[in-house]
Symmetry: C2
Subunit: 355 residues, 2 copies
């Protein structure tokens, strides 16, 4: 029996997660899976209930689960509360508490949605990049941090810090995954300026020695931001730190033009993971039943693949998504003339049906 | 009499700077300018001569000058020398020693070169963004920094740090410049995670009170990296810190598809400045006479505008560049069928001639 914890969160989170659960139920039936589901509040919803974006009871359930399916968090309602209680803090603490150091963010262009990209078709057709972002270290969590008084004015400061072992373990994840893809890893740093990434480059280079079949290259982050726009298909796997990964994975996602389609996984040492769509909580359209549930449904597919080791179920979910796209079903965000505009629920039901 | 210091640097630096000097000579004649020119080594070239990428004599000349025209630095030849002696360090020390805190990086799409972009024409046509990057603070220069031993392994660390006054002065530059453009400033931060940018957001918001005509917005850096790809024309002026500015300005530059066309200015409190093309030293094509000198020539135009307060000369240089583009002259990097491929020198001569 596998235990999956559902964390719907805020904004469109509950709606899209509900459709992923619908697909999960269909997968259970078809594959005879033995799954127990539990649910808990997180983010703004949890703050409203318990005064904390990550209540102890939610964290306990998360620790006990084999995998977590996460919706999205945040919204203007909680933008002005004290910083430590904001929805994002709940997510950051969850990543850190569970040791979810490996964030996998695919940027894949669906041929059915090629028009949605702001890039020329020849530049992005067939795009399939995997960004491997370190998620529990770097400047996100580095100490010291804060705002201090100095010479009569305030000074803000943060610390970017990585140990060799943190660098090595994320590099290994990237090499392993590249081995299942096109055997190319590009490590992104700013080694010409920052000592922390100078060490990063050295450690990644050293870790590569155990992977003779992988072709490792290095790129400065400013150049990577350019190359993603110029010729994104040159990349297979990109591995980088927490902050650069945040920026580059969003840039890469947007190359596809349909961020409503991109899932992500955040894994610990034992491949237990948290799975969430790359898009945010979109408070402006929450509750209208028009959000795109496909990124969350494909996050469920990643959950099957990585945490439940059911690549077969993952493939089936992925195929079901492709099928409904081929049938011309589209939520509003990916709608174009000549296709059929459907609601969140209709989309979820169609994928479950296809499965 | 105005004193201009020429720092050709490495790679294609000397070739492109030479053409900018040719244009400068033509401008002198046409406008009867009174200019004294001096030249000094910097970067790898200076290291080879003096064992230092920024020799004291070069720094002294730079301090004495009214403005500096800079080529480009770096190359594989110096990649393995000790870090403090690398070409980039010379540039960083120069920026810091001269207090060149305001880096202006326009990303402009030339209608003549619209095809060069990897983005769809409708997404980028007419693009005209100005990125204002803080250049002497933040994680580039923050202390403490280095690599230390901890629990039997190495740990790399850097410090991102900004004082209120540093934030305020760069914000003011952005507001002033926006006032001469479309009155919109977008400040980019990661205030949901980093305290240093939380303070940034607060200080920029406060500084905006003196500029009631400017419309100020805020964006997280990951979203900004996305929005630049999705809909870059939503931006007028973007203001941000050193590291985010490095990444976003290169991304924005690449949206135009012709980074060989983009100039930059780095100004101090008194608008004394260093002017350089956005592209690098391109060691692979150095010495072949095929590099594009236009970014350097337009850097000269910025020099005229900001440091010499000769907007008229700047406009004339800019017009001369447009004219040779209209005539169909192209260096190899921007060549397309139906245009005339010319050398670095032919391009420089044509602009000088048009002037
Ligand atoms: C919400 C925010 C803290 C988060 C991050 O920066 O990691 C988000 O942007 C992401 O990428 O998951
Ligand atoms: C060469 C390097 C140190 C420099 C920087 O990062 O500032 C360059 O990328 C730039 O943007 O001018």
């Amino acid at each position: 029996m596998s235990h999956i914890l559902i964390l719907p969160g805020d904004g469109i989170g509950p709606e899209i997660v509900q459709e992923a659960v619908r697909v999960l139920r269909a997968a259970e039936q078809r594959f005879g899976l033995d799954i127990s589901l539990d649910e808990a509040p997180v983010g703004g919803a949890a703050y409203d209930l318990h005064g904390d974006p990550l209540p102890q009871s939610t964290l306990d359930k998360a620790r006990a689960a084999d995998a977590i399916l996460f919706g999205s968090i945040g919204g203007p309602k909680w933008d002005t509360i004290e910083r430590d209680k904001r929805p994002e803090r709940g997510l950051l603490r969850l990543r850190s508490s569970l040791g979810l150091f490996a964030n996998l963010r695919p940027a894949i262009l669906f041929p059915q949605l090629a028009d949605a990209s702001s890039l020329k078709p020849e530049v992005v057709s067939g795009l399939d990049i995997l960004i491997v972002r370190e998620l529990t270290g770097g400047i996100y969590f580095g100490q010291p941090r804060g705002i201090r008084e100095e010479n009569g004015e305030r000074v803000g400061f943060n610390t970017d810090v990585y140990s060799e072992s943190e660098m090595r373990r994320i590099a290994k994840v990237a090499f392993e995954l590249a081995g299942q893809r096109n055997n190319k890893v590009c490590s992104v740093d700013k080694a010409n300026v920052l000592e922390v990434t100078e060490l990063w480059k050295e450690v990644v280079t050293d870790a590569a020695k155990d992977y003779p079949n992988i072709e490792l290259s290095h790129m400065y982050v400013d150049n990577a931001a350019m190359q993603l726009v110029r010729a994104p298909k040159q990349f297979d796997v990109i591995v980088t730190g927490n902050l650069f990964g945040d920026i580059l994975s969003d840039e890469a996602a947007m190359l596809t033009g349909s961020i409503g389609m991109l899932p992500s996984a955040s894994l610990d040492e034992n491949r237990k993971g948290l799975y969430e769509p790359c898009h945010g909580s979109a408070p402006d359209i929450a509750g209208q039943g028009i959000a795109n549930p496909l990124a969350t449904i494909m996050s469920l597919a990643m959950l099957m693949r990585y945490s439940l080791e059911r690549g077969d179920v993952a493939d089936a979910i992925q195929a079901a998504v492709e099928q409904v796209l081929d049938q011309g079903l589209r939520t509003a965000d990916i709608y174009t003339e000549g296709t059929r505009k459907v609601s969140t629920e209709e989309m979820g039901a169609a994928v479950a049906e296809a499965l």
